[in-house]
């Protein structure tokens, strides 16, 4: 675990972007998430780790109300983004999701051209007045996602024709094109090879400058490499949350220690 020292651990701000209090999630009769309290900081990469089925993805999907699309899911408790409860009746999940972007486990580009994939969000949110504006947004998003050099000559080719790693970076570009304030990533590298993974990780670190990034990962090395804060989930509980270096080197909870040293999982 020497490589966890690569990333600079200084957090630029202590301002909480997302505050969760007493969050509970039920899928039908299954109690998937039990009383989670957490403060996620702005301009920080926060990693959620834990064994499969521990509720980390569930909690991630609560942050942009993607669980609304699952018929059997019930969410209670309070999640505040910039002090506003996102489960308040007045909040439109559609507007919320424009503010909280999401990248999925499997690359899922739309069956459209690369350009149209990136332009999709800005178009539906009416963010641009003319084609030139849109071109600019598409270019800057692709640049931020480190895809511009590979894609600039084939913007009209279908997004599904790219390689897996490129597709995932296209999905990241698509998510940042709507200029969200928070970016949620659900195991973004699980379908990628090591080189593509390295590219995406580098990208995540750069994205920290403009967004608060939350990443779910199964790879503890990855959590150690990219994040400043780590939360460990186990059986629906948030066991431990704190500075990444501390969690990995000096965990307070015996369960965290067991997981990190590979005894449970």
């Amino acid at each position: 675990m020497n490589d966890m020292r690569i990333v600079e651990r200084d957090v630029d701000t202590q301002k909480a972007k997302i505050t969760a209090r007493g969050v509970q999630v039920h899928y039908g009769t299954t109690h998937a998430l039990k009383d989670v309290n957490v403060d996620i900081l702005d301009n920080t990469v926060t990693a959620f780790i834990g064994p499969s089925g521990c509720g980390k993805s569930t909690f991630l999907r609560c942050l942009n109300r993607m669980n609304d699309t699952v018929a059997s899911a019930r969410v209670s408790g309070e999640i505040l983004i910039d002090g506003e409860n996102i489960y308040d009746k007045r909040v439109d999940p559609v507007q919320l999701r424009a503010k909280v972007g999401m990248v999925f486990q499997k690359p899922n580009p739309f069956p459209k051209s690369i350009y149209d994939n990136v332009a999709y969000g800005p178009k539906i949110h009416g963010m641009t007045r003319n084609k030139a504006d849109l071109d600019e947004i598409v270019e800057s998003a692709l640049r931020k996602a480190a895809l511009w050099n590979e894609a600039k000559d084939r913007l009209n080719a279908p997004g599904t024709g790219l390689s897996g790693g490129q597709q995932q970076r296209l999905c990241i570009a698509r998510a940042i094109a709507t200029s969200p304030e928070v970016l949620l990533m659900d195991e973004p590298c699980s379908a990628l090879d090591p080189i593509a993974t390295a590219q995406v990780e580098e990208l995540i670190d750069e994205l920290r400058a403009s967004f608060s990034v939350v990443i779910v990962t199964h790879s503890m090395q990855q959590a150690a490499r990219v994040s400043q804060r780590t939360a460990f989930f186990h059986l629906g509980n948030l066991v431990e949350y704190g500075e990444t270096g501390t969690i990995f080197t000096n965990p307070t909870d015996p369960r965290t220690e067991s997981y990190i040293s590979g005894r449970i999982g």
Partner: protein, 486 residues
């Protein structure tokens, strides 16, 4: 031995082959089936196949060839010029067969002995009377040639049946003996059986193709006969359709083609939007429970016979359209109209489009929708801009399938749009389609030697080309866009 009895014996032999083959294989492995090359049942199947298949093939070939041979022999009794034309030959053969059957019945009832039946002749008395006593009525007195021919055909059929039985049973027993001989623990029975299964699968796939080829060939030859009697320019370019069996027919395709396309267009204008909207509602908005109820209910429409739809068009839709639209708008007074047939065919096609499109929309991966929702798209934006484009190829396929059905529909057109061939733009006017005219040209007592009847084949060919073209377009579209989200 009759064919049925032979088949029963073959079945028994096949069962014996199964039991013996399996038992012998197990015995050769001394009860330890792990040392067998194949599972014991494969040895059994091998025995059954060897006993039954060659014998069945021989039987089938024999049954096809025997009547041909008999007919050729029998026709030798008649002067060559009297059996020259197809029609005369058919008549004579029918006579011969009737008398031969009559003799069989007479022998069976005891009116004639076997020897008498073989040697009876027209000089010794009336055959007609003898056969009349056993209930076989003949239209006229039997001529000497017919009687001789009938006796010869009986003889041939009897000896044929005898040889057929011997051949079949010999083959079956030989196959059975062979299977038992080769069966031991190292024999590769599974490979043999699987090869036979493969042949069976290939045969099944060929039958559909050969049938299509046969239909096309027969339509093509009859169409060519039609075009040798009637100039093709007139058929394709003339604007009038007025067949008359006294001659001087005008057989122009245009009014029928126009009617077909017009009615299909109206029906697609009804079916496509309603079907697609239904599919979108079912796939994206309806709860699973509601969907489980609504979908089968819509599919019931597809099970209603089209003639019932025709009635609906005739008594309900037609008069309603006439009273509510055509007459007030001054567009005619006809109850049967393009609109009537088009709307009813459209309704018939709704479940086709909705059901297929619903399946296709459901097949679009959920990750595609999640990706769109994750970017803050609304449900309708997601459907319009992500789901439908991804489902497009399949939806187009469903629409073209429905179009093929609309073009081929006959019953509803007869009852809803009438049978008058007319070139008109007014949708409240009666018109008719190609299929309706095919039926009306071929029904009744007709002979296939005048352009008025043969035109049906040319019309059929045109229809076939149109639907084939539609299917090809559908295939191209589907192939072009198929891999997009995979």
């Amino acid at each position: 031995m009759t064919v049925a009895l032979t088949l029963t014996v073959l079945l028994v032999l096949a069962v014996a082959g199964f039991v013996l083959g399996r038992r012998r294989a197990v015995a050769s492995a001394q009860g330890n089936i792990r040392v067998l090359h194949s599972l014991p049942n494969y040895y059994g199947w091998h025995g059954a196949i060897m006993a039954a298949v060659p014998a069945l093939l021989a039987l089938a070939v024999w049954l096809i060839l025997q009547p041909m041979v008999v007919e050729r022999q029998v026709l030798g009794y008649f002067p060559a010029d009297s059996v020259e034309s197809d029609a005369a030959r058919t008549l004579i053969m029918a006579d011969v067969r009737r008398v031969a059957n009559g003799l069989d019945v007479a022998v069976a009832r005891g009116a004639l002995t076997d020897v008498q039946a073989r040697e009876v002749s027209t000089t010794t008395g009336s055959i007609r009377e003898v056969l009349g006593t056993v209930g076989v009525a003949l239209g006229a007195e039997v001529t000497p040639q017919v009687l001789e021919a009938a006796q010869r055909s009986r003889e041939l059929n009897l000896s044929g049946a005898w040889m057929r039985t011997v051949l079949t049973l010999t083959l079956a027993l030989a196959g059975l003996a062979y299977a038992i001989k080769v069966t031991d623990k190292d024999f590769r029975a599974r490979n043999r059986v699987e090869r036979v299964m493969l042949a069976l699968l290939m045969l099944a796939s060929t039958i559909a193709i050969l049938t299509t080829v046969g239909i096309v060939m027969s339509m093509l030859t009859e169409s060519l006969r039609f075009f040798s009697m009637y100039p093709w320019q007139d058929f394709f370019l003339s604007l009038t359709w007025s067949p008359s069996f006294q001659g001087n027919s005008q057989l122009g395709l245009a009014p029928l083609l126009w009617g077909t396309l017009y009615i299909s267009l109206v029906s697609m204008l009804v079916a496509v939007p309603i079907g697609l909207f239904t599919a979108i509602y079912l796939a994206e908005y309806a709860s699973p429970r509601l969907r489980a109820i609504i979908k089968p209910m819509i599919e019931i429409i597809a099970g209603i016979p089209t003639v019932v739809f025709g009635l609906f068009a005739l008594v309900t839709v037609g008069p309603f359209l006439r009273d509510a639209f055509a007459q007030p708008l001054g567009l005619g007074t006809s109850g049967s109209s393009v609109m009537t047939a088009g709307i009813v065919i459209g309704i018939l096609n709704i479940p086709f489009i909705s059901s297929l499109a619903d399946d296709i929309i459901n097949a679009v991966p959920q990750s595609m929708r999640d990706g769109s929702y994750g970017l803050g798209a609304t449900k309708s934006e997601t459907i319009r801009q992500v789901v439908l484009p991804a489902a497009l190829p399949g939806v187009v396929g469903a629409i073209l399938l429905a179009a093929s059905r609309a073009i081929g529909e006959t019953m509803i057109v007869v009852m809803g749009a009438g049978a008058a061939a007319r070139l008109d733009l007014n949708p409240f006017e009666a018109m008719t389609t190609i299929t309706v005219k095919i039926v009306s040209q071929l029904t009744g007592d007709t002979e296939f030697n005048s352009p008025e009847t043969l035109v049906a084949f040319a019309l059929g060919m045109t229809l076939f080309v149109i639907t084939l073209g539609l299917n090809i377009v559908a295939l191209i579209i589907v192939r072009k866009y198929r891999e997009q989200y995979e």
